[in-house]
Amino acid sequence: MNHDMSKLPDIFARYPQKPQSLIAVLQDIQKEFNFLPCEALKETAKHLDVPLSKVFSVSTFYNAFSLNPKGEKVIRICMGTTCHIRGAGLIQDQLESKLGIKAGQTTSDMKFTIEVVNCVGACSMAPVVIVNDKYYADVKVNQTKKILKGG
């Protein structure tokens, strides 16, 4: 897949050209492309004068980074303790079986990605599911269809 690398210089310009800027640069690339394209990692390594192996190691260490493209809609299921004890696991099962993918995967039509996140800090509203930026609070097992439809 070809990605538009012309945005990289803009991103690079935001931070000092030092190895310390690696995480910040990768975060901005992730935000721009919704994942970290291989070409971008190579460019970053060159620009910051960091070995590609180190760029790879940082990109795979932090949960915020993904080496695979994500779907149009990213469904984030909060798996904080409160969400867990209020049944987030059952909601995850439902969403996974409805989409035929597991958490961390993307549907083959690139429409949906399911992610499990540790805690979004909205515990009083547990369980919480976030689709792109939309919050669904106090989600019940039988509401997953509605969530997928975007209602």
């Binding site: 030092k18 190895p19 310390q20 800027s21 690696l22 995480i23 910040a24 990768l26 975060q27 180190k54 190691s57 940082v58 260490f61 932090y62 949960n63 915020a64 980074f65 798996m79 904080g80 303790t81 409160t82 867990h84 004890i85 209020r86 049944g87 059952l90 099962d93 439902q94 079986s97 409805k98 996140v117 540790n118 805690c119 979004v120 800090g121 909205a122 515990c123 009083s124 509203m125 547990a126 919480v128 919050y135 609070a137 019940k140 097992v141 039988n142």
Partner: protein, 620 residues
């Protein structure tokens, strides 16, 4: 309006008066809570609606500027919240359609909209939020401004005395006097470790090597905790002021706030706050006209729990993989870029301005002898009144869960309260009278942690909770030490085995043994405290583990392999709701007839249980 830099304490006094006059113009203020919970429930929509209604209706004596978007007011369970001050009129679960009524009735006609007031489970309705038990039993220091000032406005912060403590420190106190004051206060690190902040500052200040760094840990990785998020979003200037005071005390000119990527609003608001403070000359070069300069930068975390650990956090700030190092030399001595570094968390810094302002002795009088001051908690889980709270150290768990939290939802029996996040533990009902302070909780096998407090009822399975935390830690272990990386994984597999009814009692012994090894042989706190979720649950709930092992039964009805869903023929009215909800097509029956579940098809997703209004689906 052009901003003139505040060049002296006198300037600051003048500015404070100016800001106060601006505030006093408004006889009434309308606070819309935009904390994490309320936002998730649509607070942003309510703000927009208020703006448009106020513009349309033009209420005499009430301008749009008197409406404030505040940080977390605390009572998240009842959100979105709208408060009218100074009366304290407290509207709960406000919807977009209610906004017009609030504007017309309360703002125009000075009347209370009764049906939006908070009604307690005992049917009592409260007009003033300060009377509600949830608020009445609290004492707020770190959260002092949350819910009362506009979260993104430095002038609001200055009006309530903001940056006065910094001015006092810079002009009336020597760095060593500042450290002395913090030592006198007895302030211990609020991130969980509980190390005395004053002593940490002192060790850093003494080191001759330069530069010194000041870092604020806003990584708040504990699931179920959102105090720091609420402070960073709701009162960012208190954190900046605390850091600046610390920087003055330890002679640092460069600071970092490490914020989790999952908190984009916190990042945004802190960035705005830093920019504002620099414009006013309260951060940056020559603060308040003195020769003290301090710059703060934001470093966004990448979603790794281990980065809450000091040495891992510092590596991450430096753009590297966040692996902890052995701390033969403490991070105060060799921290960021191997330089002396003070690292405290958000809540600790938020306490500092108050300590400088009112004196260490005043602070030390609050709380217990060894744990001074107050502590913020996110009180969540199966509790009636969940939300953000702050209480004096030494308050008992019972007071927190029952007086403030209002007890357990649906009147079910209390089972346990989990504190300290993944490194903490579960405390049962006979520990409810324990005093909440650093030492007591640790002695009981849990810990204070950063302040997540998750209440559990009978419907929570402790084996499942232990399994949950172990899974969390397996995912979050950085992988450096084998005992943590492999050991926790084996513990997790054994917990899974128990939850599936496949384990023997021998497995419990194995788990206990393995826990000892992990504790002894791991490098950092994540590994060393990793077995805690298992150890504390087995300590207090051994019987429940044994029921899973011997009787192949999950008393809480949670472990899928050990439960079945059945229809209670007495209660079922044949409404077919469960049939429609069942994705596995396991339920059959006609309208008006009792339904039945085919156990061979049932995948135990719980959908039938969730939709049945008559509580006719039983878990056995």
């Amino acid at each position: 309006m052009a901003i003139t830099k505040v060049a002296s304490p006198k300037d600051l006094d003048k500015l404070q008066k100016q800001c106060q006059t601006e505030q006093d113009k408004h006889k009434r203020k309308l606070m819309v809570c935009c904390g994490p919970g309320c936002l998730a429930n649509g607070a942003a929509e309510i703000v927009t609606e208020f703006k448009s209604q106020l513009k349309k209706k033009r209420i005499k004596g009430f301008s749009v500027e008197a409406m404030k978007e505040t940080g977390c007011h605390g009572f998240c369970e009842q959100g979105p919240l709208v408060v009218v001050e100074p009366q304290g009129t407290f509207y709960t679960r406000v919807k977009k359609k209610d906004v017009e009524r609030i504007v017309e009735e309360t703002l125009r006609n000075n009347k209370v909209v009764d049906d939006l007031l908070y009604t307690a489970p005992d049917e009592k309705t409260y007009r003033d939020y300060r009377e509600i038990p949830f608020y009445k039993h609290q004492k707020r220091i770190a959260l002092r401004n949350l819910g009362h000032i506009n979260q993104c406005d430095i002038r609001d912060y200055i009006a309530v005395g903001g940056y006065q403590a910094l001015a006092k420190a810079l002009n009336k106190m020597s760095p060593s006097k500042v450290i002395e004051e913090v030592k006198t206060s007895g302030l211990r690190g609020r991130g969980g470790g509980g190390f005395p902040a004053g002593r940490k500052w002192e060790s850093c200040a003494r080191l001759e090597e330069r530069p010194h760094y000041v870092i604020c840990n806003g990584d708040e990785g504990d699931p179920g905790a959102f105090m720091d998020r609420a402070i960073m979003e709701g009162d960012p200037h208190s954190v900046l002021e605390g850091m600046a005071i610390c920087a003055y005390a330890v002679d640092s000119s460069e600071g970092y706030i490490y914020v989790r990527e999952e908190y984009p609003l916190a990042v945004q608001f802190l960035q705005e706050a830093i920019r504002e403070a620099e414009e006013y000359g309260l951060l940056g070069d020559n603060i308040l006209g003195t020769d003290f300069s301090f710059h703060i930068k934001i470093s966004r975390g990448g979603g790794a729990f281990v980065c809450g650990e000091s040495s891992a956090l510092m590596k991450s700030v430096a753009g590297e993989v966040g692996e902890p190092r052995a701390k033969y030399i403490r991070s105060v001595q060799k921290g960021l870029y191997d330089r002396p570094t003070v690292l405290n968390n958000v809540e600790s810094y938020a306490n500092v301005p108050v300590i400088i302002d009112r004196g260490g002795k005043w602070f030390a009088k609050i709380g217990t002898e060894t744990s001074a001051g107050t502590k913020a908690f996110s009180l969540v889980g199966k509790v009636v009144n969940g939300g953000l709270i702050e209480v004096p150290m030494g308050t008992t768990l019972r007071e927190i869960v029952f007086d403030i939290g209002g007890g357990i939802r649906n009147d079910r029996p209390f089972k346990a309260v989990q504190t300290g996040g993944p490194s903490g533990g579960c405390l049962p009902d006979d520990k409810l009278d324990l005093s909440v302070d650093f030492d007591t909780l640790t002695k009981a096998g849990s810990m204070m942690g950063s302040g997540g407090m998750i209440v559990m009822d009978e419907g929570t399975c402790v084996v499942d909770v232990a399994k949950y935390f172990l899974k969390f830690l397996v995912d979050e272990s950085c992988g450096k030490c084998t005992p943590c990386r492999e050991g926790l994984y084996q513990l997790y597999l054994l917990a899974v085995k128990i939850s599936e009814g496949m384990a023997t009692e021998n497995d419990l012994d194995k788990m206990e043994q393995l826990s000892g090894v992990i504790i002894d042989a791991s490098l950092c706190g994540l590994g060393k405290s990793g077995p805690n979720p298992f150890l504390s649950t087995i300590r207090y709930f051994r019987d429940e583990y044994l029921t899973h092992i011997r009787d192949k039964r999950c008393p809480a009805g949670v472990c899928k392999a050990l439960i079945t869903y059945e229809v209670d023929a007495q209660a079922c009215d044949g409404c077919m709701a469960c049939i429609h909800a069942c994705a596995a097509n396991a339920i059959s029956g006609k309208k008006g007839e009792v339904h039945t579940i085919d156990q061979t098809k049932c995948d135990k997703c719980g959908a039938c249980f969730a939709v049945c209004n008559r509580h006719a689906i039983k878990v056995a």
